[in-house]
């Protein structure tokens, strides 16, 4: 089984599965890979709010809380 990071938007509207492997990658860079800006989301990693400089590993579960909202 390949281990992956699961990223999803809190309302369930989108989900990504990405394998990172040995790379040391930060939340900000991970979001960049899927075309998102870190200043547009508050990031919860495995149930804890983290900053965009936090390191992510395979197996982590990331939930994104959109900062931008309409209306």
């Amino acid at each position: 089984m390949i281990e992956v990071v699961v990223i999803r938007i809190v309302d369930g509207s989108k989900e990504w599965k990405i394998s990172i492997g040995q790379e040391r990658i930060k939340v900000r860079e991970l979001l960049e890979k899927i075309g998102l800006l870190s200043n547009e989301y508050v990031v919860v990693k495995n149930g804890q709010v983290v900053s965009e400089e936090e390191i992510v590993n395979d197996d982590d579960e990331i939930v994104l809380y959109p900062v931008v909202s309409g209306g």
């Binding site: 938007i9 870190s38 400089e53």
Partner: protein
């Protein structure tokens, strides 16, 4: 793991300009200090006030309500109430309205809901439909903004507000600034000041924006840490708005060059102070009283009455009056 610069606990936030990291406790302290500094700097409130908070039920306005109720515990002569304008947007407002009522009850704060339907006879959804049938050149957000601002002022005044606080944050402000530059709307730029209102017209309630210098990311985090983050629902009309694109552009710049938003804010404050010195040139004539409804207005007839007229959702008496004025 990234740790708090002050106490070594896990960080929940990094201020990308100062490079400082904050844990939950120290983030909330940082947030509180920043809002209090904003309130003081722009002299938003006096020692005795009836502060009406404009709340949509979204995360920013719930955060403002929560924050102000907590702050008011330290100021004995402040009274806080909440006001929600229900535009009548199906699939959206009914949800945020639920959150609004729940939070008001939790905080023990008095609230009022005023709807487009009861004041204008139509919901926003209905207004948008009529506008499309009549091929009027306006976007949903134009009706929404005009009618909402109109009701906020009128109803807050009727509630006895000495000041009306809105949850506009730094992101909202600089986006609106950019939109108004694009549209060459300098009179609207003057109104983006942190405090506006009471001197121009006796029926204008003073307006303040306590989150003026707070990033939207920070208000969002505040809402999340205080269990105020709503079920994420988005207004179905939001994407028709040019704001959507401008926001993305500014956020891309901010990502690459942290501090861009603050720079824009400094530019805004500078240009407001320059424009204030040339008010006659920017704003045509004094603020008037609308000949139809008696509310403050930039013209003989206010925007809300004009829209009602164009939409054909006005009673005959008012319609005749408008036609008289416009002759």
């Amino acid at each position: 793991m990234v740790n708090c610069s002050l106490c070594e606990k896990p960080a929940v936030y990094i201020n990308r300009i100062s490079g400082k990291a904050y844990c939950k406790k120290h983030f909330l302290e940082y947030f509180d200090k920043k809002v209090r500094r904003t309130i003081r700097k722009y002299k938003m409130f006096g020692p005795k006030e009836h502060i009406v908070i404009a709340v949509s039920g979204g995360k920013d306005s719930l955060s403002l309500l929560h924050y102000m109720v907590k702050l008011s515990k330290r100021v004995p002569r402040w009274k806080i109430s909440a006001l929600l304008i229900d535009e009548g947007i199906k699939g959206y407002r009914e949800y945020t309205k639920e959150d609004f009522i729940r939070v008001c009850k939790e905080l023990g704060v008095e609230y009022k809901i005023a709807s487009f339907k009861e004041y204008f006879g139509y919901t926003l959804d209905e207004i948008v439909m009529v506008g499309r049938e009549k091929k009027l050149p306006y976007q949903p957000c134009s009706y929404c903004g005009v009618f909402r601002r109109y009701l906020l002022n009128k109803v807050a005044r009727e509630m006895g507000a000495t000041v009306l606080a809105t949850a506009h944050n730094l992101d909202d402000i600089v986006q609106t600034f950019m939109m108004n530059i694009i549209n060459n709307n300098w009179d609207k730029i003057i109104r983006l000041a942190p405090v506006t209102g009471p001197l121009d017209h006796p029926k204008f309630v003073k307006r303040v924006k306590p989150f003026y210098e707070i990033l939207e990311k920070e208000t969002t985090l505040y809402s999340l840490l205080n269990n105020l983050y709503p079920k994420f629902v988005e207004c179905p009309y939001a994407r028709f708005n040019i704001r959507w694109m401008i926001r993305r552009q500014i956020n891309e710049l901010e990502e690459k060059y942290p501090g861009t938003k603050y720079s824009l804010l400094r530019s805004l404050l500078r240009i407001i102070s320059i424009l204030e010195k040339h008010k006659d040139e920017v704003i045509q004539g004094e603020i008037k009283t609308c000949k139809i409804c008696g509310e403050p207005s930039a013209h003989e007839v206010c925007r809300a009455c004009l829209y009602r007229y164009e939409l054909g959702i006005m009673n005959d008496e008012d319609r005749k009056k408008i036609e008289e004025v416009m002759k």
